[in-house]
Structures are given as C-alpha cells and as structure tokens.
Symmetry: C2
Amino acid sequence: MVASGGDPGTPGGRDGAPRGTSRRRIPEPTVGRLPVYQRILEELLRSGTTTVSSDLLGSLARVNAAKVRKDLSLLGSFGTRGAGYDTAYLIEQIDRELGLDREWPIVIVGIGNLGRALAQAQGFAARGFRVTALFDVDPEIVGQHVAGVVVRHPDDLTDVVGDPTDAMGVIATPASAAQGVADLLVAAGVRSLLNFAPRVLSVPSDVLLRYVDLSIELQIMSFYQSRHRPRAGGDRMPVIGTVGLSRRDPG
Amino acid sequence: MVASGGDPGTPGGRDGAPRGTSRRRIPEPTVGRLPVYQRILEELLRSGTTTVSSDLLGSLARVNAAKVRKDLSLLGSFGTRGAGYDTAYLIEQIDRELGLDREWPIVIVGIGNLGRALAQAQGFAARGFRVTALFDVDPEIVGQHVAGVVVRHPDDLTDVVGDPTDAMGVIATPASAAQGVADLLVAAGVRSLLNFAPRVLSVPSDVLLRYVDLSIELQIMSFYQSRHRPRAGGDRMPVIGTVGLSRRDPG
DNA sequence: CGATGTGAAATGCTTCACAGCA
DNA sequence: TGCTGTGAAGCATTTCACATCG
C-alpha cells in the first residue's frame, strides 16, 4: 500500500523481519489500546504524516505518552530517538502483533440489522477479516445475499464452516437464541466467539469469548453521567473504548 | 460547562437510599461488571431464583466470588450473611448505582443497519433509555419511522434535542462523518457521546466519550487466537466483555 | 537537542483469609 | 453452619524520571 516515494526519514537498512516479537507477555489493557493506535496511525498516514511521537499519538488517543511508549516497547523497539516512530512501519508491527498479518474467516449468526451491519462493515475486510458464512433461522432471510454471501440456515453450519479451528463466530441473534447458537458453534469446532446478544453465555473454558453488549455501554455512560461525572479539569475520568472484564476464576 | 453548583462533596442522603450511595469511589472495572451482574440477576429472577450467593453469581459471570463481594460491597452492604443476596433487591440497588433509576433520552445519528439495530434494541427501553430522536443525512431515510420515531436531518438537531444536558448521543455513522457529527452534538449541548463509528474522535475534555469499535473487538480476538491463546487449564486468559481504555492524561 | 526505552516508584485492582453475623 | 464484608497481602498496570542515543 502506498509505496512512499523514497523517504529519507526511514531507519536505514533494517527491512523485513523485525526482532523476536511476541516473546514477552502483553498486558490485556495494552492489547485493547493497540487497535486504537492503529486507527490513529492509519489516519495520520492518510493525511501524510510519516512520523509520530509518543506525545502526538498519546494525545490523539487520550493516553499518557509514557503509556504509549511502554505499550510500543512491549512489541519491540522500533522508534527513533529524537524523531519518533515511523508511521507505516509502526502500523505494520502492530498488525503483526495483533495477528492481522493473515486472514481470518468470520462466521456471523443472526442476520438482523446488527448482523448486516457487521457483515458489511468496511473495516473488517480491510483488516483481513473475511466474512465466509452467514446464518439465520428466518426463512425470509435464508437465501438472501448479504455482503456477497448467501445466508443459510444454522442446520448447515457444520457443513459450511471450513476449518472451524481458526474461524471466529459472531453471535448477533436475539438474546433467547444466543446460548443455543453458541453451543452449536462450539460443537462445530469454533474456538473463538464474539457475542453481541444481550445475554451472558456459558461456554467451555477453552473457548475464547468476548461479550459486547450495546446496552451495557449506555449503562456505563449513565453511571458516569448521573452521579459520577468526573471533574472537567481533573483526571479521574470516564472512558474511551470499552470496559474490561476478565475471566477464568479459580473457582 | 454548566457548573452545577459546588457538587463535589455533596452530602448525599437524599431519598430512600439504604446507604450513602456513591459516597465511595467505584473503580472503573467494577462499573463494567455491574451491568453484567444485572443481566445475570434478571435471568435468575425470571427463572425463579430469589436469592443468590456471591459464589453462584461469580461463576455465572466468570468472576471470582471475592471480586463479586467486593464489587457489591462498594455499593453498600445488602447481602445476608449465611444466605446471600436477595435477587430483586440487588437488581434495584445496582440500577440505582448505575443511574438507571431514571429515564435517559437517547439521540442516534446515522440510521443505517447499526443505527436501526440500536434504535430497536429491546434492552434499551427496558432500562429507561428512551430513544427520542433519530438523524440521518440520506433523503431516502429522512422521514422514515424507526422504532416509532421519525428520522430527521441533522440540520434540525438543535431544535429537536430537548434538554441536551442529559441526552446521550450515539454516533452510528460512517467513519468519515463521525467527527462532524460529534462536533454538532457537542455544539448542541450534548455531554455524553457513544461512538460506534470506526474512528477515534476528538471532543472537549468535559464531554464524556466512549468508543466502541466492532472491528477492534475482532482484532482483540485475533490477538489471543493467533499467538497468545491462553492455556486451557491456566489462568492468564482472555476476556469477556470489552477492554478498558482509560481517559484523560495529565497532558 | 529531542524523543525513545526502561528501571523504579506509585497507584489501583484482585485475591486471600478470616472475623462477624444471620 | 454458611456466606457476607473487609483489612491486608499480592499482583498488575501506570506513571515518573532519566540515561541513552540518533
């Protein structure tokens, strides 16, 4: 993408394979910030900024500059002292750390408004998320083409999902159907689920599960707006992004 | 701005609160878990469970029981030793802490698939989020009724939003329009924004902003699935819910 | 010089362990 | 007896501060 015409700012010689990435443990909060940095870096690159400082990146992401540096240093050290980070190179490195240097098949179950929004989302394809299968129980919807894919009935799920081991299952059904769909996906061999249905699901502990609840987001805002709105000048402030809930209890 | 008379340190003790609610600081991670407990409690109540232990609630939420107790004890202490928590009462208390004991006007901008999904979401009305206004620039969409509300053009925004001080603005436009919409909402006086557009927005620091990016959720899963999938038996594991990104840097 | 990279300090959250009460 | 509520211990993450190097 955009072979930047001979930019002298780039660190000399060092191309291709960077240092031993992903040897260190990356803290969960950092993992959540990396995609945000991505978004900003892409934007900066589009507007012609080929170098960023931790200061700039931090202020755009509303994150302390030191945190930016620490986050990035966990992936390796590819800044240039005195200058900053090379925008394009940084994007590439973050991509790699996030596992976006490959394609991921995405399977969406529940092709209502939300499912459609997801299936058509621009950002997905751009990052290697390939929507490979869509499912819905509604006979009106089965057979429709959405984002170039035919919607099928979940009964076909096992046949249609190629290698379920890498696939990511997205649940966008009503709450009442969600657990059943999760079970189905897990039975088909899918090991990563992203749940948008407003219900807390139960899955085997070796299945990766993320739960994104649109109404929870409003509830969190409600909390801060109602009784806990942080002081403007202060520093105890709300949130960008989404709240972390970890899992696995020894229980 | 709207300096709401010296509110810091307001001695609470208003109406029938069992304890001085919101006297203590609630950590952000806890705020994220409360709505999850809610979801589970509602489910339990529907199935006739009138009492829960921290153990049960914890295992359903995939959270350590001690964490559940600590979370709940931050809101006051309304468990019964030896028995557990009264389901209905607990729901009520969490509601109150989250500021759900009132109605919140919601304004949605961008009535594509995502906007529609949000406008029609069951869970919203149930929690007092009242969708009061919908906006879109597309002349085909303007005038349509969605969830019982007429879609209008953003030009009318200032007229239509009643008291913008409590309203929560939801941005569900394409990325390219998002910053403009945010500016518009802020200019209209809205002080809480929930951004679903895949772009990091810039708003005045006294505006509450949450950024939920559907593709970021996939990116996070990608990270864990690709190179960092946690060991099944182990305990350093991924995520339920959504990742936290904090705010405000001393800048 | 200016900005990164990073030990070390500070802060905040989670987990433990047990006293206290129904 | 069983389960909550909570100090105190244990970890993790954030922030500081500065040596380091392009």
